[in-house]
């Protein structure tokens, strides 16, 4: 495409995002979305990938983006970056635009798609039952609650693997999430067929409970450029309480293992909710300063667990958390991701609390597994 037009789209449009032209996002059951924040654009059990990527919904969205409109599909992502006051924090859109700079796709053509990035969540298979998670995203929780397990059918997964393998030339990033990606067999089948190029980054979002000879982990480590994001919601006993089924010592051992790999960078993510609010600065510092994490993401509490949001903390604790987060914000104000995320946490604390249902929620978990959250978090009871 005309380089000047491309420059103008990227630099002069306020809401331009390359994801609809470059990103293939596959959800738990084979749904295709524009991105993690976007809407469902098609179902792979019913349609071919190419058919979905050039369907009416995609074309219409691309056209709206070319006209620099804020669409319903993009609203929540744009809102996230706009409510943050951490300087130039621009969220995930900026991430994909960074990849799109290298794409040869013609962004003015609304029917075009060229694979640059892959975001695979194609199964909820997971060995943990984290308290912030839900049946739709963890097979272990689904089984505990007698609910169906979300899993992309093998036939569909094979079609995705064939499509990605055939279109891997321009691929710059594969993001493996889940569920737990080191347990999803499709990932092994896919990665075996992907060339181990230095300009391709493999990002893995993992619960860190894998064995070091795990075949998927071993295949991931064959790539020259790997970024492991470790899900960390505490340390020691608190980590094990929140991430039900996880072992803190195993996490530390796997972190050491990853630190010894020259092709691996480590980062962490933490969910901001009632049990992590007070320990968050400590967790961030531990990873950034002691582990050598390249970054840290703090996710808002979602997945329907609204009773766990920090707005429901007592005013006294909120005030303490706010003070600590402001200090942490000051410390990391030059890291736009951390600063932006912390700003969003502070905004969450400004909301009026509506429930203390989280107490009953944790009491019920304690009954299930014989734990005692009140002993671990006496200040919350």
């Amino acid at each position: 495409m005309d380089p000047k037009k491309k420059y103008q789209l990227f630099k002069k449009h306020k809401h331009f995002c390359t994801a609809p032209w470059n990103l293939l996002y596959v959800g738990m059951d084979g749904t295709v979305k524009t991105c993690t924040h976007g809407s469902t654009m098609g179902q792979l059990q019913e349609h071919d990938i190419a058919e979905i990527l050039s369907n009416k919904a995609f074309k219409s969205l691309r056209q709206e983006i070319l006209e620099d409109n804020i669409t319903n599909n993009c609203r929540s992502c744009l809102k996230r970056e706009n409510i943050s006051s951490a300087g130039n924090f621009t969220g995930i859109r900026n991430h994909y635009n960074g990849l799109g700079v290298h794409s040869s796709v013609n962004y003015t053509d609304v029917s075009k798609f060229e694979l640059s990035a892959l975001d695979l969540h194609w199964s909820s298979i997971c060995d943990l039952k984290c308290v912030t998670c839900w049946a739709g995203q963890s097979s272990s929780i689904a089984r505990e609650q007698n609910k169906p397990v979300n899993h992309t059918p093998t036939k569909v997964a094979n079609r995705i693997i064939d499509f990605v393998t055939a279109n891997q030339g321009g691929l710059k990033e594969i993001y493996l999430s889940g569920g737990e990606p080191t347990l999803i067999k499709y990932n092994l089948k896919l990665l075996k067929q992907i060339k181990k190029r230095p300009d391709l980054i493999i990002r893995v979002n993992t619960n860190m409970q894998w064995d070091q000879d795990n075949k998927i982990v071993q295949e991931i480590l064959k790539f020259p450029n790997v970024l492991f994001t470790c899900s960390i919601d505490g340390t020691g006993e608190k980590f094990e309480y929140i991430r039900r089924g996880a072992n803190w010592n195993k996490t530390l051992s796997n972190i050491k293992f990853l630190q010894s790999q020259p092709n691996v960078d480590i980062r962490a993510n933490t969910v901001f909710f009632v049990l992590t609010a007070q320990q968050l600065p400590e967790i961030i510092d531990y990873f950034m300063e002691e582990i050598g994490s390249v970054d840290h993401t703090i996710n808002p509490c979602g997945m329907g667990q609204y009773h766990l949001r920090c707005r429901n903390l007592s005013n006294e604790i909120k005030s303490l958390v706010r003070k600590n987060l402001n200090n942490t914000f000051e410390k990391y104000k030059h890291n736009l991701n951390i600063a932006g995320n912390l700003k969003n946490c502070l905004l969450e604390l400004d909301n009026e609390g509506s429930s203390n249902e989280y107490m009953k929620y944790f009491d019920d978990i304690d009954i299930l597994q014989g734990s005692d959250w009140r002993k671990l978090y006496p200040e919350l009871t």
Binding site: P3, K4, K6, Y7, F10, K11, V101, H102
Partner: protein
């Protein structure tokens, strides 16, 4: 072939009424002949650029007599109206240190490198070299 308009705003100050001069080259071809910068001046010129080439835009600063103080500053760099001042932080300046002064500095244990990154003010003669490639807007997108 693409044509890009460059505009460079320069500022000058002197203690002896001798002002710096600026000559602008693209690779080895003069684009703007040596011109005196008195206080402030914006030099605007078009560059015709070939496809898939690497270029050096060279700003040669002269007329420093080694007597009195004379500073030349790049105040603003624009291409097709796009402000590239932030990019100047990555541009190298190659000062021609006055020989006697430079020798004294070395004797005093002060090391002055041959090139200085991000210098926008130059009190000696010397040059800035701005490297870029074409297609210009593709380069701009990847580097700014």
């Amino acid at each position: 072939m693409e044509t890009i308009n460059f505009a460079i705003t320069l500022g000058a100050s002197t203690t002896n009424n001798v002002y710096p001069t600026v000559e602008i080259l693209l690779n080895d071809k003069t684009q703007v002949k040596a011109t005196e910068i008195v206080t402030s001046k914006t030099i605007s010129f078009n560059l015709d650029l070939e496809e898939k080439q690497n270029y050096k835009l060279i700003i040669i600063r002269g007329n420093h007599s080694n007597r009195g103080q004379q500073i030349l500053s790049i105040k603003k760099l624009e291409a097709d109206g796009i402000n590239l001042n932030k990019f100047l932080d990555h541009v190298y300046c190659y000062p021609e240190y006055p020989r006697q002064w430079h020798e004294q500095q070395i004797k005093a244990g002060k090391f002055w490198p041959d090139k200085q990154k991000g210098w926008r003010d130059l009190g000696f003669n010397g040059k800035w070299i701005i490297e870029f490639g074409t297609p210009f807007y593709t380069w701009l997108l990847k580097n700014t």
